[in-house]
């Protein structure tokens, strides 16, 4: 998936990937897509859950080995 920005959260645990995603999204424009790299397995469920809270659009998660690549669009 194509993204405007990438955020590296490899090695970080809850709540850091979500909190960092939020802070990164604050500096983005509506319609832009953020790619988040994470290896905390909880992130797979936490990212769509956070999207429900924040109103960001959840575009999906791709897995590459242990690495999760999450995609969200700022609304």
């Amino acid at each position: 998936m194509k993204a405007d920005r990438t955020l590296d959260c490899i090695g970080l645990f809850c709540p850091m990937p979500i909190v960092k995603t939020r802070i990164e999204m604050d500096n983005m424009n509506p319609g832009e897509v953020l790619e988040i790299l994470a290896d905390d397995p909880g992130f797979e469920n936490d990212l769509p859950a956070w999207c429900k809270m924040s109103g960001a659009k959840f575009l999906g998660i791709e897995k590459e080995g242990n690495v999760l690549k999450g995609y969200v669009m700022k609304s």
Partner: protein
């Protein structure tokens, strides 16, 4: 209107404080208004320095502030501070966020702090001895006004 969450942070244990701030920062990151009401042992988390003595304190209050400091214990396996030292070391090694990291993020995400004036009075804590981030010094009624509007209210 934004969703709201409140936490009463009664405990001054490091592990419980980390749990509280994990939830507070996540909720704030999810666009919720978050208020933490610090009372009793929870006030230790807000102390600027390890020892918070002042001339206004009586002997018992001084004793109390000597035994209960901003050097937080953990709920189990404390072993006079060896437990927290090991825990912090493990957390650092696994790159987990420390309480200080989480508290800095809480400020960035505008989490609101209220310190309980009754507890401050009992323990002889002045406003100056607590972090500047404390936005309000108040009592139960102020907390309840916030909690009544909130969908999530926790006591930790």
């Amino acid at each position: 209107m934004k969703d709201k969450m409140t936490i009463i942070l009664f405990s001054g244990d490091l592990d419980k404080a980390i749990a509280a701030f994990t939830l507070a920062t996540t909720a704030a990151a999810g666009d919720m208004d978050v208020t933490i009401f610090f009372t009793f042992w929870g006030l230790n988390i807000l102390k600027k320095s390890r020892y918070t003595f002042s001339k206004k304190q009586n002997f018992l209050q001084k004793m109390f502030n000597f035994m209960s400091t901003s050097s937080l214990p953990i709920t189990r396996l404390n072993f006079l501070g060896l437990g927290p030292w090991m825990m912090k070391k493990l957390m650092k090694k696994s790159r987990m966020a420390s309480l200080e990291d989480l508290m800095a993020l809480a400020q960035q995400l505008k989490v609101k702090y209220i310190a309980c004036t009754t507890s401050c009075g009992i323990l002889g804590l002045s406003r100056e001895s607590l972090l500047d981030e404390v936005g309000e010094f108040a009592g139960a009624a102020s907390y309840l006004v916030e909690a009544r509007e909130a969908r999530i209210n926790l006591f930790i």
